[in-house]
């Protein structure tokens, strides 16, 4: 499996003053993985994602993507190399339609976003690809309405569509179904389960049913450190996990 590691961190640390929010995290994500990152509130899950994407710089440690050191590479360049994320809180373009936003992401991939001469209406390859992608996520006519008019669940889906438009090799999903009713949340995860095999997925999720259903392996983060890592069965039986995270009579 080590040969096929797409994303790897080594002794990753991040402190805010005296507060160490990420402590010595060494983590490996193989090709095509469906891994979950869980942990109580304030465990540093989002911080870890922000370190991986370059939104935050680590105090020490290394991040490697496809074996290349990307620790100091800016966010946008990591995206171009295939490391793409979604946001826990919708981070979309309110007055653009999903179609326009998706075309924007695809146009970037095709190196068009500094081209002031080309007619957007003539970018058929980009428009068709964007439409196809939105169609796959069953946007229908919603793809052509301003994003701010769309139902919340739709906007969560758009987060994922925009990430996919960048053609990720590694997809980091920060609570993709946050705030979505359970019925729709299942749909979001079905869509994720159906992603191509060559995309490695790491997702943060609080709903343990969803985690145990969709994750091949689970990493438990507590107080900025990896407490343990294993298959859903191993994690469910782990005494310390039960104690700090799943315990106290919570229905698992």
């Amino acid at each position: 499996m080590t040969a096929d590691i797409v994303l790897e961190t080594e002794g990753l640390n991040r402190s805010f003053g005296a507060l160490r929010v990420t402590q010595d995290v060494s983590f490996k994500l193989p090709r095509g993985a469906r891994f979950a990152l869980i942990g109580p509130n304030g465990a540093g899950k989002s911080t870890f994602i922000n370190l991986l994407t370059g939104a935050l710089m680590p105090s020490s440690g290394r991040i490697r993507l496809h074996g290349e050191d990307i620790t100091r590479v800016p966010s946008q360049d990591r995206v171009r190399r295939g490391l793409v994320r979604t946001f826990q809180i919708n981070t979309l373009f309110p007055h653009l339609t999903p179609l326009e936003a998706t075309v924007l992401a695809i146009a970037q991939r095709h190196g068009l976003c500094v081209n002031p001469f080309k007619r957007l209406s003539g970018c058929h390859a980009e428009i068709d690809e964007a439409h196809e992608l939105l169609d796959k996520f069953t946007f229908g006519a919603d793809g052509e309405r301003p994003t701010h008019e769309l139902a919340y669940g739709r906007q969560r889906l758009l987060e994922i569509v925009l990430a996919l438009a960048a053609q990720p090799k590694v997809l980091l999903l920060d609570e993709p179904a946050a705030g979505v009713p359970q019925q729709e949340s299942a749909e979001i995860f079905e869509a994720l389960a159906a992603l191509p095999d060559d995309i490695a997925v790491l997702f943060i999720e609080h709903d343990m049913d969803v985690v145990f259903r969709f994750a091949q392996r689970i990493t438990v983060l507590v107080a900025g450190q990896i407490l343990c890592e294993g298959t859903p069965e191993e994690i469910a039986d782990h005494p310390q996990v039960r104690e700090v995270y799943l315990g106290d009579g919570e229905d698992v």
Binding site: T91, A105, S121, A166
Partner: protein, 339 residues
């Protein structure tokens, strides 16, 4: 599931998807109306051509700001710097070396664009208020340089003695402003077409993305800095052309072309006309020029009161300026006629 499109609404297809972008780029009636009226004003108001020309030049200047502010969401309190650099470049060139108006225009665009490119290297690294303050600083610096550099700019007395040669070697700029009007009209219209092309390009879409959510852009792989630098440079060059046009058609440059007042009034005109649709800039400039003219007749000392009030009302009601109000009114009337 959420999949089913709302009843009655057609499902999206490749055709509707492509049509959305054609629709976005289509000429709107208020654009056509503006340009037809602007051309017609040559015949309707032959006695006011000088004033109309100046209002249209201000329009080009406002459009240049719209690219930055209306599309990319980057405000500027120092945009007059580039207008002034364009004006002084054309003015000094015509006074000391070469009075061909087209050469002056190109020179004004190049020098202002170069200044914009240099400033963009600072501005594109900043965000929000810091960005605004730097544009303010740039404006003040340029003003004082022109003020102090008497031998070159004429300082506070203004730049005089421009020798503008006939346009294309044939059309002499006349006192009625006929040649000046036609010359400015053609130049501004061509640049308006260019600006339209720009905002309907992938680059234009990226600018809207920056305005809508700059934080998301890196997550799409867009670093934003290249887009901001290019937008700033193009915007500065357009402002420079506007300045050069004003210098050439009036054959005099007052120091106030670089003034803070001008930077502010161009912002006000843009908000009044409506941001982010280009034509709002042209309409806003005309409205602002006429309004200032009329209000200063009523009460020269306090006319800014009314300008301020109008500004507050427009922003608070979120009407989208004059273009927004026009569009909504026409839509409502059209809906009633259909019924």
């Amino acid at each position: 599931m959420v999949a089913v499109p709302a009843p009655g609404s057609a499902a999206a297809t490749t055709q509707t998807a492509r049509a959305l972008f054609v629709r976005r780029a289509a000429w709107r009636w208020e654009e056509i109306a503006f340009w037809v009226l602007a051309a017609a004003s040559y015949f309707i108001f032959p006695g006011h051509l000088v004033l109309i020309t100046q209002a249209m030049i201000t329009g080009l200047f406002v459009v240049s700001l719209d690219l930055m502010f209306g599309y990319a969401g980057i405000p500027s309190f120092g945009h007059a710097a580039f207008f002034g650099i364009g004006a002084y470049t054309a003015g000094i060139l015509a006074r000391d070396w070469w009075g061909d108006p087209l050469v002056g225009l190109v020179a004004g665009a190049l020098v202002a664009g170069l200044a914009g490119a240099i400033c963009s290297q600072i501005v594109a690294r900043l965000h929000g208020i810091a960005m605004l303050m730097v544009t303010l600083g740039i404006g003040l610096i340029c003003y004082e340089i022109a003020n102090k550099w008497n031998s070159m700019t004429g300082g506070d007395d203004g730049l005089q003695g421009m020798q503008i040669t006939p346009l294309l070697g044939r059309f002499t700029f006349d006192i009625d402003g006929k040649v000046g009007f036609i010359y400015s009209f053609i130049v501004i219209f061509i640049l308006y077409l260019a600006a339209r092309r720009l905002v309907n390009s992938p680059f234009g879409l990226a600018l809207k993305g920056i305005r809508e959510n700059v934080r998301r852009m890196p997550a799409l792989g867009i670093g934003v800095r290249a887009q901001l630098a290019l937008a700033f440079t193009i915007s500065a060059a357009l402002a420079g052309v506007a300045g050069a046009l004003l210098a050439e058609t009036t054959q005099y440059i007052a120091l106030e072309v670089l003034g803070f007042d001008r930077s502010i009034s161009v912002q006000i005109a843009l908000v009044m006309g409506g941001m982010g649709n280009l034509i709002g800039g042209m309409i806003g400039a005309i409205a602002y020029t006429v309004l200032r003219d009329q209000l200063s007749l009523i009460n020269p000392a306090y006319w800014d009161f009314w300008v301020g009030l109008i500004l507050v009302v427009i922003v608070m009601t979120g009407t989208g300026g004059i273009t927004g109000i026009l569009r909504r009114t026409v839509d409502r009337v059209a809906a009633r006629i259909k019924r």
